[in-house]
Every structure is written in C-alpha cells, then in structure tokens.
Symmetry: C2
Subunit: 342 residues, 2 copies
C-alpha cells in the first residue's frame, strides 16, 4: 500500500522524518460530537464495535476532523476474551462486566483459543476502513497485552487493585500461565488477521502493567509481550505498558519497534533505558488538554523538546478523556505539526 | 517515654538495630476477626474513627495478636477535610463520598484551616492508646499528604484517574495552591497535636501521587510535603508516596527520616536515588500474602536481602488487603524477625 502520508510508518522504522507524526490514544470515540451521533445511532457500545460500517466511520472521523497522522481501528481490547468464550457486557457508567470469570484450571474448559474468524467483525471493519481511507494515512491495529486481558477475565470487572487477578498469580501460577498462554495464542492470530486485513502497524496495550512488581511483570506479562512481538514480523509493533516504568529497559531488548510512554515518564530517562534504536511514543498528560489552547501549545513544545534526539511519534501519555475540549485537542495536534517542522 | 521495644525509632533514626523492625500499613482493621467485632459494635466506620475507646482498642489489636513493632493509630486521612468543613460519608462497598466538593475560589469560603481541637477525637484516641500500650511499642501518627487530600476534596470521591482534580491543577493553579496551602497548614497543626498527645513518629500518605507527572508532582505535591517535613521537628517523619518513583531523588533531599517504597520499586535502585542516610520502608507486595506461609517466608527473606546495606523498616508495599489470610500475615512478621536477627 502506498500512503500519501506515511510519516508514522517511517518514524516507527526509526527513519528521520520532515516532522514528528502525531495521533492520540482513544482518538476514535469519546471526544467528538460526530462520534456521539454514530454511537447514539448504534444504540450501545458493543453494537458499535461489532458493526463494521459504523466502526469504520468513527475510526476515520479524527483523520478528517483533527488531522492526525494515523487512524486506529475503533474496537475494544475485550473482544479477545469475548471470542475465547468469556463474554463481557459494557455497563453504562460502570465499564465492562464479565458474568462468568475464569479463575481455575476447571474454568479453562469454558474457553478456547480464539480463531480470528470469530472476530471477523473487526477484520471487516479494518478492511472497510483501509478502503475508505484510500491511502491518506496508515491504520493502526491493536490488542490488549495478555496480562491486562487476564486481569479482566479473572477479576470480572475493572478494579483499582485487581487483587483477585494478582492473588491468582501468587496462589496458582500454573493456572495463570495456562490462561496467559491461551490469550497469547489468540492474540497473535488476531493481530495477524488484522494485518492481513490492512493494519499497517499494531499496538499492544498493557493497561494494568503498573499493578505488578518488576519481578512479577517479567514473569507474567513481559514474557508474553515478547512472544507476541517475536511472532509479528509483518509490521512494526508498539508496546504501551501503563505504569511499567520498571520494564522499559527490558522493552529495549524486545523485538518491537516503538515503546509508548505514559505521562509519568521522563522521555530523556526512558531513552537511556530503551536505547537509541527504538522509537518512543508519547507522552503529554491528557489532563494538560483541559488547559487553554495557548498553554497546551506551550506544553506540547516542551514535550517535543524532551523527545529530541531520537525517533518520536507524538501522542498523549494515556487515552484522551471524554470531556476534553476539542479546541485544545486541535491545539495539541497543530503544535506538534508546526513546531516539529521548524 | 521509654519503650521496651524501640527498634522502629532507632531504625528511623538510621541507627543499627539487632533486627529489622516490622509493621504493616492498614494493620489496624480489616484483616483481624477481633477488629470486625469492634467494627460491628461501633455500627459504622466513622463512629469507630470518632470513638477514642474503640479506636484505641483496634489500634492495639495487631500489637497483641500479630506482634508488630509499632502501632499506628486507627483513623482516616479524610478527617482533615472533615475538620476543614468539607465533610465526607463512608459508603459501604463504594468508599468515601463528599456531598460538597471544593472546586473554585468561591468554594474556599465554605472551608477553613482546621484547628486541632476539631480533631480531639483523634488526639484523645492517641493519648488513650499510648497509655494502654504502656511503653510496649511506639505509636505512629499519620495524615494524608496535601495533594491526596486535595484530590478527594475536589473530585468528591475515589477515582481511577482523578481527572477532575488534575484538571483543576491545569485550569486553575492559583486556586489549587490556595487549597493546598490551607490543607498543609491544617495538617501541620494536626500532626503537632498528634505528637503532643503521644505519637512517637508520623507518616504522610500520598496515596494518589502516581497520577501526577514528575513536574506537576514537584509543584503541587512535593513542595507541600517538604513544608510539612520541615515543620515537624519533634519526631521522625516518613513519606509514603505511592507510585511516585520519579520523586524518590527529591525525597532524598527532604527533611524527613524515612522513605516508604511501594512494591513496584526496586529497593537497591531506590537506595541510590534516596541516598545512604535515610531509612527505607517497605515493600512486600500485599498480594504476596495470598500465597502459602512457606512462599511468604521465602519472599520475605528475598525482600530483606534487597534492603540489606542500609537502615530498613520492614513493611508491605501498600496496605494489607481485607481478605488476607492471618496465617500468612503472621508468617511475614515472623520471617522478618527471625531472618533479620540471623
């Protein structure tokens, strides 16, 4: 595929680019009134995720409206447990809830390694999006990192501590590794299907990385992320592990191309740990976008300066919050484009 | 006051001790059946906090039953906003809720700098506890760090992101500093009253430190923690800032004696950042206590080895979880005592 704007792919490969590419985690959905219209049309969140025409539409909105340098397919990391037979419901104002959790070897009989054909609604949405984008910008595919998916499948809902999930790591590590292995196999096949459908890069989200100790992270999360990175040879892979500052040095040795940083992480320090070769992504605090556009612009310039000296993809340090003013979002994107060109 | 066991005070002063002292955050309450009986007798959480006889009773329980080297007064960090005029309710299975939040300069008129006499139920509980402990072990007093209290007073409830609180830091920093200043003044007077009543050490809990960027942490949290440390010259001060690994080097320069580490933090790395003079506290993962007593013992030995080479107070890396098996808790405490003596 030839892209009219392939800045992000070149930056991900570590090449020098004429300016820094920019996109935002959670850019598809949440902040745009145009998204909320499609969401209302779909009725509920899962219907939107599972309807390729609507998912493609909200995926492309930020490219049209905000001018980002990449689209990311509108979907959810929880489609993997869903396809494995551990279904979730999205409860308004509460988040995902799993009626049946997986907490023991016996429970593993209820689930299976997902076949990508069970997630055809995602690959169809990707194919449709790529067709409609028509080479304007690349499309990013994604999945949850196995530990984060494990945390939801065992805990059964969101949690501040995920103490049920963590308890299982200590109390039944053999079961934990079996479930993590099944999630990993499902995820590799799923990401390969996304790439076959047209995803030009993929990102792994380890949203709950920060609840593990460094040793536990290596054993129960890092090893599976590495396995996925090694299996995905077709396109550049990005790892975003929120709160896992203690794993940055490890990521530097993984067969991935880009390491995403959350807003707690000093870019110069991360560069030392990750090494010179990889691309860094991030990391403006999404709450910074609550400030006036002038302050957002100044903070974005400062952030770009901190990443100077190595390949960089500009982004926030976490997903954009739903009530973020669109003007500040636009100020962020414009500031990256103009300042990094100069 | 002469203590029969003053290990923790000597360790906090950086002196060599015959073995490592040990206590657990949240040791008073939650895990012991004896606590749950007193809790039931009190009826609700706030009554227990506000009744000196009952608070003293549950404070002393872990000294009697678990053999820890210090008591920590049973209370809540939210008594400060309560005394300032921003009252909270403790809602079962949901946590604290503030009917009136403080989000603007105008809202500041609803509150005042708390006078310690408004928190006499705490100082009475401390005096009673010290009397009943009768020199067995020292009693630790505590307060929330100003930013964490600010987060609750503005957000109005617990939150994963505290995005309302953080938004105010960016959108109205002048208001934020005014409220933080009022909390800081309230906290200094409150801690001094705790010390006058008999607290032999005090700890500041910055539970939500980890949601700030390093620069923001310095501006909106660190500066006030430092101010409190400088004001409390009577007894050793401990800082425990969960998730604020990026502030460890700063803490090394603060006028405090002990720096607590969460379970994400490698003790040897923290020692380099904090420096040789201070005492480190921590940091077994509280979820480790879900494992068998044998595994807990092994993990505790490993943790003690990691802290070797500098003054250390053994603890968990966060508060003990309510459903932790008491046998594993005892295994942790015994393992610290026997292994560090050998």
């Amino acid at each position: 595929m030839n892209y009219r704007n392939d800045l992000i792919l070149r930056a991900a490969r570590g090449e020098k680019t004429e300016r820094t590419p920019v996109w935002m985690m959670r850019q598809a959905g949440r902040i745009l009134p145009e998204y909320r219209e499609v969401r209302a049309q779909a009725g509920d969140f899962k219907t939107l995720v599972e309807t390729p025409e609507l998912a493609a539409e909200v995926t492309i909105q930020p490219v049209d409206i905000l001018g980002v340098d990449a689209a990311i397919i509108f979907s959810d990391i929880l489609v993997i447990p869903d396809a494995m037979g551990c279904t979730y419901e999205m409860v308004e104002a509460r988040g995902p809830v799993f009626p049946q959790t997986i907490r023991s070897e016996a429970d593993l009989k209820q689930i299976h390694i997902a076949d990508p054909t069970e997630l055809q609604y995602v690959t169809d949405a990707i194919a449709l999006t790529v067709k409609q984008l028509d080479g304007r910008v690349p499309l990013i595919g994604f999945a949850g990192a196995p530990f984060t998916i494990f945390a939801y499948m065992t805990e059964g809902k969101g949690s501040k501590t995920f103490s049920i999930a963590k308890k299982l790591l200590y109390a039944d590590p053999s079961f934990a590794h079996k479930l993590l292995g099944m999630i990993t196999q499902s995820t590799i096949a799923y990401l390969k299907a996304q790439i076959a459908a047209g995803a030009a890069m993929v990102q792994l989200f380890d949203s709950w990385a920060g609840i593990l100790s460094p040793a536990q992270y290596r054993e129960f999360s890092g090893v599976y992320i590495r396995e996925i990175c090694a299996a995905i040879t077709e396109v550049p892979v990005t790892i975003f592990a929120k709160g896992a500052w203690f794993a940055l040095e490890d990521f530097g040795g993984y067969p991935c191309r880009t390491v995403g940083l959350d807003w707690n992480t000093d870019p110069a320090w991360a560069r030392q740990l990750v090494g010179k070769d990889k691309t860094l992504q991030g990391n403006l605090d999404p709450c910074q976008l609550y400030a006036s556009p002038e302050l957002v612009t100044a903070a974005t310039h400062q952030m770009l300066d901190q990443f100077a000296g190595g390949p960089h993809i500009a982004n926030l340090g976490h997903g954009v919050y739903p009530d973020t003013p669109v003007d500040s979002v636009k100020a962020f994107i414009e500031a990256v484009k103009s300042y990094s060109k100069a």
